[in-house]
């Protein structure tokens, strides 16, 4: 056997070993995550029933549903997006158009990226400090603003990326026709980036709908039906947290049903966003 052959054999052996470790890592990763989803689907579907959508949260020991937390979550998410979307789109547009290469633009871009992965419980503390503490009570508005602050960086980021994708030749053509620059942005930039901007908003909704930590001390919880944004309001994640931590069997199974609902909603939103992006941006 030539020495070269031995070297080759060793290289091949090392390669085989390391590559099988990689495969093993991938299998363990996907397997563990599949286990989590499997448990979620099994426990969730058992507990799912029409009553989930029509009845309110029950006291322990009696049957009920998740109507009030579902409504509360929808309401707060809606308000949050209504605040975050315009600000986010405008800020993202600034970063992609006027702010290119400026100090302010670079600074905002960097800090926005940091906010994107900031712990959401910190956002909750901030809103507690500026809204709940001065007002003296927990409220749906506070919850909605906490969610808005979590949605904002997502929308800023996607808008900037999507508006940035528009070729400069389009902008030049519009400017050459005598458009003021703001009209170039509104009629050319936003219009061609529309699917992308919509994607950002969908991703923000997905991000926000699973958030629990910031709601714990902003919107708190409410075991009764309430759509009053000035009072504590129930939300799906907080109810899941409360019910899952409780010792009652029926509360726990409601928690699984809620968890399945949220996960399904998040996944559907993410997949829709992907489909829109792959269709809209070539």
């Amino acid at each position: 056997m030539k020495p070269d052959d031995r070297l080759l054999a060793r290289r091949k052996a090392v390669n085989g070993l390391m590559m099988s470790l990689c495969v093993a890592a991938a299998v363990i990763a996907v397997g563990a995550l599949a286990l989590i989803l499997a448990k979620l689907v099994v426990a969730g579907t058992v507990a799912l029933s029409p009553a989930i959508f029509t009845l309110m949260t029950p006291p322990p020991g009696s049957s009920g549903g998740l109507l009030n937390p579902i409504l509360g979550s929808l309401l707060m998410t809606l308000v949050a997006i209504a605040f975050a979307a315009p600000v986010g789109v405008l800020a993202g547009t600034y970063l992609a158009e006027y702010g290119r290469g400026t100090t302010l633009g670079n600074g905002v871009r960097f800090l926005n990226d940091t906010l994107l992965s900031a712990p959401s419980i910190i956002i909750g503390l901030f809103i507690y400090g500026v809204m709940v503490l001065p007002q003296g009570h927990f409220s749906g508005w506070a919850g909605a603003f906490a969610l808005a602050l979590i949605a904002l960086p997502v929308i800023v980021r996607t808008t900037e990326d999507m508006v940035g994708l528009i070729p400069d030749s389009l902008r030049e053509a519009a400017v050459a026709l005598g458009c003021p620059y703001w009209r170039v942005i509104v009629s050319i930039g936003w219009r061609s980036a529309r699917p992308g901007i919509l994607t950002g908003i969908l991703l923000a909704v997905a991000r926000v709908s699973g958030e629990t930590a910031p709601l714990l001390f902003t919107s708190l919880n409410n075991q009764f039906m309430s759509t009053n944004m000035n009072a504590p309001i129930a939300s799906l994640p907080v109810v899941i947290f409360q019910f899952a931590m409780s010792p009652y069997q029926d509360w726990q199974s409601l928690a699984w049903a809620g968890a399945l609902l949220i996960t399904a909603c998040v996944l559907v939103l993410n997949i829709t966003a992907r489909v829109i992006t792959s269709r809209g941006v070539q």
Partner: protein
């Protein structure tokens, strides 16, 4: 491209009545004959207002961050004044005598995150390498999407699974086995003593590891994707095995990006609330054994914030928040810096 580069159009430098530079300035009465002299396009007057509008939206993002800093600092002043630097070194947590220290939650946060990184990072990198190098092409897109989607699953799901499935599994099978085989070893054994509750720092760390796994894998995969194909082809062209290519070309090339991905994961693990709160046990003490219940900063906040009575208690909790803010933002800044060096702006 240069013609419309916004850098060359500084509308803010002009007065409110001037137009964007790409339009010729009004030529006044000396314009071509038959022309009214009106060359200002319709709506040009709105330009400064629009610039101002978008810029103030961008500044709002800055203000949010500054506001978070300021609010946390002001709100935690009472506690910081009362305890001074001892807040960081004391492990007391007594709401009755109003004596608080941050050591136990900080310790728990660091330990659980360390376990999470130890478990999550090798698995995530292995999975990312598998996806970029070994995976059959037909499977690749599907698996990559699956990993990206898993990174979006809300953390409360991981917490519930940890509480209902993983903790019982740990206490029945894993922890007794560890105690039996690793327990007698000196020093290391001390980490694994005590009753197998299931709930505790080890379990919380493992769940956190599972949670950051898809996240780190997704970001690393995006980082690996920035690799120029030429380098890959060249490496295989000179006869490198896949592992040699990964070890000597891909990883060195992507090093700062992968470091960034890992630190993003660390930032997430440090600040993660729900996945940990379910299974950490919420006990304010520092135990050597990883089987023992502990607490983290975020779990303490989630569990105690709404029940806190008294200014000192509340302010101490907010001071914990300030510490978490400082740690995570330092990590996240570093992460973004590393990622920007490789030119990858990762959208997670």
């Amino acid at each position: 491209m240069e013609a419309v580069n916004p850098k060359t159009i500084p509308p803010e430098a002009n007065g409110p009545d001037t137009v964007v530079m790409t339009v010729p300035a009004p030529s006044g009465p000396s314009g071509p004959s038959g022309w009214s002299g009106e060359l200002v396009p319709k709506g040009a007057a709105f330009e400064p207002a629009f610039v101002w509008l978008t810029r103030s939206a961008a500044i709002l993002v800055l203000l949010v961050l500054a506001g978070i800093c300021a609010v946390l600092l002001i709100a935690s002043l009472p506690a910081l004044k009362k305890f001074g630097p001892y807040f960081l070194t004391s492990s007391a947590w007594n709401p009755v005598t109003e004596n608080f220290g941050a050591l136990a939650p900080v310790y728990g946060t660091l330990v659980t995150s360390a376990i999470a990184m130890l478990i999550g990072v090798p698995l995530a990198l292995g999975a990312a390498l598998f996806l970029t190098e070994l995976c059959p092409h037909r499977l690749r897109a599907t698996l990559a999407t699956a990993i990206d989607l898993l990174a979006a699953v809300p953390s409360i799901i991981y917490g519930m699974w940890g509480l209902f499935v993983f903790a019982p599994f740990m206490s029945t099978y894993v922890q007794p086995a560890i105690t039996e085989y690793v327990g007698p070893i000196p020093v290391v054994g001390a980490l694994f003593t005590g009753a197998p509750y299931g709930i505790g720092m080890l379990t919380a760390g493992l769940i956190l590891g599972l949670m950051v796994l898809p996240f780190v894998a997704a970001v690393s995969r995006q980082v690996f994707a920035t690799m120029p194909p030429v380098l890959r082809e060249a490496a295989y062209g000179v006869g490198a095995t896949p592992w040699e290519y990964c070890r000597r070309v891909l990883i060195p090339y992507a090093r700062s990006g992968v470091t960034g991905a890992v630190m993003l994961g660390l930032g997430r693990a440090l600040g993660e609330t729900m996945a940990v709160t379910f299974i950490i046990g919420n006990a304010h003490r520092i135990s050597v054994s990883l089987f023992m219940p502990g607490t983290t900063i975020s779990a303490t906040l989630a569990n105690e914030f709404t029940e806190a009575v008294g200014d000192v208690y509340l302010s101490s909790l907010l001071a914990l928040g300030l510490i978490l803010f400082c740690i995570t933002f330092a990590v996240l800044f570093a992460a973004r810096f590393m990622l920007s060096r490789i030119g990858a702006r990762v959208a997670v």
